[in-house]
Subunit: 201 residues, 4 copies
């Protein structure tokens, strides 16, 4: 019950975040090719943020799927994650409007870094209320991808002041790392039972 | 479980897309009949996009209704579809503001074409994790309407540069083709069991 | 299953409509009492539209609660209703910005009238796929409140050109008529079984 | 059934409210540190409102979790609460734009006060349709935190005209009081059964 409502609320917030960014895409200033081309960088930033939020939705989905118990701390850890994700449209807009100026690009990276930290906290809060040898604990393991992302984000923020394009390249690499859904959990669950088979429908 | 959350998330995104377009409808500039008349083309474009998103919601609903298993690839194919659908408000706004100029109208068609391709990919991804003789596979069959739509969209995009009204006429024809819900699936399911009877409520 | 998703999608759209109107409330131009007072008419229009959408959500909820089967025609009748409801924020904004000018106020009434007609169509489409002596058919009965509302709306639209305040008074009367939830259905269901008792939670 | 849809609709509205506030965060005017610093007060107001809406979602969740029956009066009491919550983004924007001027800050407090009153009414409406010795009634008890918050809000509104910062300090104190989720209900339920264990998933 609580888990279902937590999922539904998180889905709602992420669905809105992923969608309202498109509200901020301004229609190109003219109706010729030059106008469309000049809108492309903003569209590319939208694509990047869409992919990041899609990754969070996907991993959040896998994470909750393997969760059997939810505590009050988990509710707040989840709201904390949603807070940082909610700043993604704001940071995307600022970065886009500034044309990849260093500080806005670093701020974007900071929002991604804090989202990743909040996700890590959420994972710990969930693990704390599972049995110690749970499917989830085994599936997460040493969380190599999670720690790698945190390191890459932390490196990307200062590198922005050298060259913002290095930072965007690092963000793209992190996105590619995660575009593969969290097969660790999927694989572990698969060993126990067919996880994605819809039951009773 | 996974299927339910996939449906809920897709419903959320489509509900938001279908609704935020109305946020972009500017109130007519005056309060007389001329002002209302001058707002009509934009209202007509809103109606067209509302119908397209409604068609996708309806077909998505029928598709998932007949689905029994969901894989990681399906999750991503679904996000891919939602990405192209999320550009519908942007393309609608640009087309409306430009007064049906060729490039914006062709871009609108391009977004519809890529949405249709993404839907086709989603259907294939879902079929790949069903048993080969599933109800869904039989119901989809040779997917005549799907292939016809793809062909019409692909033709409509270049024809825009001849005359944008041809293109709008083609979009309207495609909408009419699909306004009839996907009776193939409905009919097949109906043969097995009353599909739309709400269970246990 | 289908019924649940229909409810969820409708809830999503109505929740968004009821909420995005507040996005259009402009912050008062100053920070003194005069600025707040000058924002009051717009706040009153927001309250009226919030109440109307709340009434639709409430009645939609009672209607679907008593529904046991859903057809393809119901899906489209529901989308048709959502289309007219989606124009409520647009009409509210135009009416508010114009300071209750006749045409915008009549347009607002037209949107409410078409929403009420769409709701009537939805009720008919649902009744068409229930058994003839269903709880719902008995509960709806001769639909006195529904017909009364249609009549009042139809009268309100032309009366706007006499005096917009007459129209606003009529809208308020209709809202008050419906603020009482649809006790017909509730009462009938209550006779058969305790309808609002959450089951299995 | 009714309870589930009530939760889903409330979640939808709160999720949208919590998210659309970020739409109103304007990107800083420049791309240097001074521009970011000048955007910080607005970000802090966003954080405060995010926390308040998060608190309402959390408490609403605990409240409904312990509810077993829902009446028509509860549906309207819930819509009444959502109405006041829906004005939070409007009041946040006005307060932020005015730079904490007295009247906007008092208005913000008034919206919070009326939301708290509406929540109290909702609790009473729910208690009225539970059995008299229900888990919920015992868990709510004398509602010390609720009455304390009402008193603090009522004091904060007039104090704004002395100094708006006193008011912001009081709002922060109320937020901290509630950041701890409603352990009364959680503890009582926990005595009867493990409340947060997801069932059947």
């Amino acid at each position: 019950m609580t888990k279902n409502r937590l999922e539904a609320f998180s889905d709602g917030v992420i669905a809105i975040l992923i969608t309202i960014m498109v509200l901020e895409l301004r229609a190109p200033a003219g109706s010729d090719l030059a106008a469309l081309v000049s809108a492309l960088p903003e569209l590319a930033m939208y694509l990047l943020s869409f992919v990041f939020l899609g990754i969070y939705w996907n991993n959040h989905h896998h994470l909750l799927h393997a969760t059997t118990a939810v505590s009050g701390a988990v509710l707040w850890a989840n709201l904390h994650l949603l807070f940082w994700l909610s700043l993604v449209p704001f940071a995307t807009r600022w970065m886009g409007e500034s044309g990849l100026a260093p500080l806005p690009t670093a701020t974007y990276g900071g929002v991604l870094l804090l989202s990743a930290i909040a996700y890590t906290i959420l994972v710990r809060a969930i693990l704390a209320c599972q049995p110690p040898d749970s499917v989830l604990a085994v599936a997460i393991g040493d969380d190599f991808k999670g720690r790698l992302s945190l390191g890459l984000y932390a490196a990307a923020v200062p590198l922005t002041f050298l060259n913002p394009w290095i930072t965007v390249a690092i963000y793209t690499v992190v996105a590619l790392i995660w575009l593969v859904p969290d097969r660790r959990i999927e694989a572990r669950l698969g060993a126990a039972a067919p996880p994605h088979r819809a039951r009773g429908n």
